[in-house]
Symmetry: C2
Subunit: 387 residues, 2 copies
């Protein structure tokens, strides 16, 4: 089991705080955006004196409401196609357990969310990466390159859309091309769509649930925690029309009895009663943070950062040779205006050794005043580190 590379730096951040230093956390997707108000109303609506288990697949009403909402896009889901999980994380673990036998392989474009390594390890699944590059703005490579990576033990292709860590938003035609490969080679297409509400510049998120002919191959992971800025709620969902796969996932769900009931009440209320104006505001806020951060980054000598189309992350290339060392050094040695910043070295997001050693992932989850200070801190840090 690999250690989470994002969290490996935690002790150094804790030490900095104990010395009175402000640490700007650009390393983790914990936004300061207020949780959708309807979430709290849902929690408060629980009046029973007993807090019972829910159905292992989640509260029946909630699953129905979930399917109904997704069906506005014409997916034709039933409540049985939706399994409420303990955060997107558990849905990913269940996917790894249910889609694969031990020793099977999953193809993933790198850089990818580092915890995929841990989830794959839990299921005995081997990760085979294919590389996307900052020069190409992390677009998917030519499909020949993807197809060449498929071996006899390959069981699935997995993407994150919009992407963590790069923020890349894949288009419908890119997804259709991947789907064609999956159908040709009988692979599952697993899509981590936890950031689906966070897409910018007038573009729309296209879910693989909308791909015709892919019904038996499509597996989608969602996260209420992310959508409604309630990270601590640990409510997510696994969605598939493949009933055999769902039956296997349900066995894992039954073994752990139930997702958190009270937070499902909150999540159901958030789903039913959060209007589009909430998301308009949240998106506008993220866009202005993104623009501020990406502009500041590209203004630093030797720094490159493509403009992300979604999620709340960006990967930047820095004029450094060892991002692990640099992120560690910033926490231990660099102070600007009483503060330092914590970033995620990009090495942890690549499976291929040495890739990402001059890149970091930055989450634009802080309000603009703090983000401005964080960028100043990074700019001065780069100068000091390189002199």
């Amino acid at each position: 089991m690999p250690a989470s590379p994002i969290r490996r730096l935690v002790p150094f951040a804790e030490a900095a705080k104990q010395n009175g230093t402000t640490v700007f956390h650009l390393n983790i997707g914990q936004p300061d955006i207020a949780t959708a108000p309807a979430f709290w109303e849902g929690v408060a609506s629980h009046k029973d004196k007993v807090l019972p288990y829910s159905h292992s697949a989640g509260l029946v009403q909630y699953r129905q409401a979930y399917a109904d909402q997704l069906n506005r896009k014409g997916y034709g889901l039933t409540a049985e196609d939706v399994l409420i999980s303990i955060g997107g994380s558990e849905a990913l673990v269940m996917t790894m357990m249910a889609c694969f036998d031990s020793g099977d392989e999953v193809l993933i474009p790198e850089p990818f969310y580092a915890n995929y390594n841990g989830f794959a390890a839990m299921g005995g699944v081997l990760v085979r990466p294919f590389t996307t590059t900052i020069e190409e703005q992390f677009a998917l490579p030519e499909l020949d390159a993807v197809e060449a990576a498929i071996g006899p033990r390959t069981k699935a292709l997995m993407i994150c859309n919009p992407n963590n860590p790069t923020g890349t938003l894949y288009s419908k035609s890119e997804l259709e091309a991947l789907a064609e490969i999956c159908l040709r080679h009988d692979l599952f297409l697993i899509a981590d769509e936890v950031y689906r509400e966070f897409v910018y510049d007038g573009r729309e998120h296209f879910s693989i649930l909308g791909l015709n002919g892919l019904e038996q191959h499509a597996v989608v992971v969602e996260s209420t925690s992310k959508i409604y800025s309630a990270c601590g709620a640990r409510i997510g969902a696994l969605i598939t029309k493949n009933t055999e796969l769902m039956a296997t996932a349900l066995k894992y769900a039954q073994a752990r009895l139930s997702p958190p009931t009270l937070e499902q009440m909150g999540a159901m209320s958030a789903l039913l009663h959060t209007g589009s104006s909430y998301f308009d505001e949240v998106r506008a806020e993220y866009v202005s943070r993104r623009n501020l951060m990406v502009q500041a980054l590209n203004a630093m000598p030797g720094v490159t950062c493509p403009l992300p189309g979604g999620a709340f992350y960006a990967v930047a290339r820095l004029p450094i040779a060892d991002s692990d060392d640099f992120c560690h050094w910033m926490l231990e040695h660099h102070r600007h205006d009483g503060a330092t910043i914590m970033m995620a070295p990009a090495t942890g997001f690549y499976a291929t050794p040495r890739l990402g050693s001059d890149e970091v992932r930055l989450a634009y989850v802080l309000e603009k005043a703090n983000l401005t200070r964080a960028m100043e801190c990074l700019a001065t840090g780069l100068v000091a580190y390189n002199s």
Copy 2:
């Protein structure tokens, strides 16, 4: 991955309910006891507008309070010895992942909690049972028999105390004997102590945390959800002084980011502010339910049920040959006063084939009026089934 045998009967119970039949659920440990009031106060005390992740190992304050409370018994734990898990279930999964390599074996007295099979399967761990019998009131067998079952791949001995499904409470001297075996063969002793507060007749629960010399071998699983009758809260704990083991468990905890934050607030408040009078009342209620049920069972012709010393389960031998068939038949065909009962066939709690085919597990989690009706239903059902 095996299906949960307790939940396999769920569709038949659902069908009965849809036909207007009352179903008394003696099949699952979902008590109707009110959640400790302090839990709700803790939930309400969350005033921040954002519901954030907690530390992956749980809220720091909560872990400290947890250790402090256990230390009243002189265990000498630090907050770092306590990892807050998503229910006792997740602590068991983490234990299976952290204590074993794929292909290793765990020794467990049977009958045992059926979901141990699923957790073991997730970790690639093989379950080797040693049998306890209803004739011996499910006491542990002679230690020679336990020791004889140890093989080269055996890495741990695992018990549930008080026991689910039998309600057996193991004494200090029994635990000392097991500890001696573990030390002699360098095995972990894993104790599922989720029912530790539910012990009756003036006896006290003795935790393996109190065994001298076992510090590096003892792994304890607890469940706030069980202790404070908040099953839906999904808050549990993994406790060990073995720092290497805890470091491995923490990696799994980090991959799934955080246990539910809001329900940790409730659990911490329940821990800090629930007085002994709450438990006195709960225990008195369970004792009177237990006595009612066990007396009613032993009054039925051909039925044997030892008096459980703890938890809220009992295993009864019935005058039947196929408990799966009988439990299914009761749900589908037997009605008494507009009601039927759902029980757990004991076959699911034994790893040895065919054992438990004349036994069922009954949870005395219903108020006495309903329990009385349930026992009448069982008595008439046995007569009808056998005629």
